[in-house]
Symmetry: C2
Subunit: 201 residues, 2 copies
Amino acid sequence: MAKHPPRTGTPDGTTAERVWAVSAQLFREKGYHGTTTRELAERLEMTRASLYYYVSKKEDLLYGICTEALHHVMDAVRTATDAESDPRERLRALIRAQLISSLTEIDLHATMLLNLHQLTGDQLKEVIALRDEYEALVGGVVRDAQAAGVLRDDLALRNLILVLLNMVNWTLTWYRPGGPLQPEEFARVIGEVYLEGATAR
Amino acid sequence: MAKHPPRTGTPDGTTAERVWAVSAQLFREKGYHGTTTRELAERLEMTRASLYYYVSKKEDLLYGICTEALHHVMDAVRTATDAESDPRERLRALIRAQLISSLTEIDLHATMLLNLHQLTGDQLKEVIALRDEYEALVGGVVRDAQAAGVLRDDLALRNLILVLLNMVNWTLTWYRPGGPLQPEEFARVIGEVYLEGATAR
DNA sequence: GTCTATAGTGGGATAGAC
DNA sequence: GTCTATCCCACTATAGAC
């Protein structure tokens, strides 16, 4: 376990928080196994030994990043969908919340989604369970919409869920903060294509 | 460079081909940096030294897998889209060809898409260039459809392309051959949602 | 909380016999 | 084409002083 697991909402700027932020940044750039504790320490401007004051092993960094990312996105999505009652609007709110929350903390979220399977043992199990919980949350919103007659019933519920997750998740592999694409705009695009399709009327 | 770069269409069963196939399999399971030459040799039932008869360095395996995957999918997509003239049908053919070609050789394609950035130097540049070429091919089909008035013009071309790639690419992260989901069926689902949307009529 | 120094392991890759 | 043996380096992690 981490000596100092990341705490969401802690006032920023502490060294402990820099350790987590820089780890996520590096893990996203080079992958978990592609990142060495040497590079990490270098970018933090400390020695490797100092790094181990904050964390007891490298894998704890990945574990902490994954759990924080998942709690973060679940909170955002729950808050957003709870605020809407119309099934269509709940879907749009879901897309918007997931996309914006994951793109504004992209190091965390991209690291989680793309490196989760490098965890081992109980940490792997726990994170998989959290991710399943998140997907169940998404699945519930889609299921309700289909049950309300808002979504097509000639497509299987499972497929409707998978397509939606595809549309949102792959964005994390290519999005670059500060680039031309605005998360708000792209969330609208995904919502439009998912609900209305790309065909001209 | 690889001593024996993979040749598509070669009669199977040679040891050289097993080396490429098993590498792709392992890289998909554990990631490029997460896979050791020891594991690779073990699964091939040979020694590490023997492995180096087929390849001069580990990175050449990744490079060969990436280029083969990209050539493979480009061939499939070009053939499929050249056979159609209607812009809508070309889009459906594109989705079907990309999805089926990448899911039937998923070890190759998932390794390529998810580990491409672990390459370095010229090999990285070459593979990025190939991938850009592939995306330009996809982009052309979408552009033609929008120009023909088939796709909405209230959504930017760039966004229409990105959403489509999202829908197809993320599938490689979760698809398991032999599972309940049929590639043919899921290609139809993506085509339907992309063109018509998920809303009930 | 940060350091120097180092332990101890496992990594990619090579030499050279058969 | 496959092997045994080995090199050498980079890796994660720890001990213990300040």
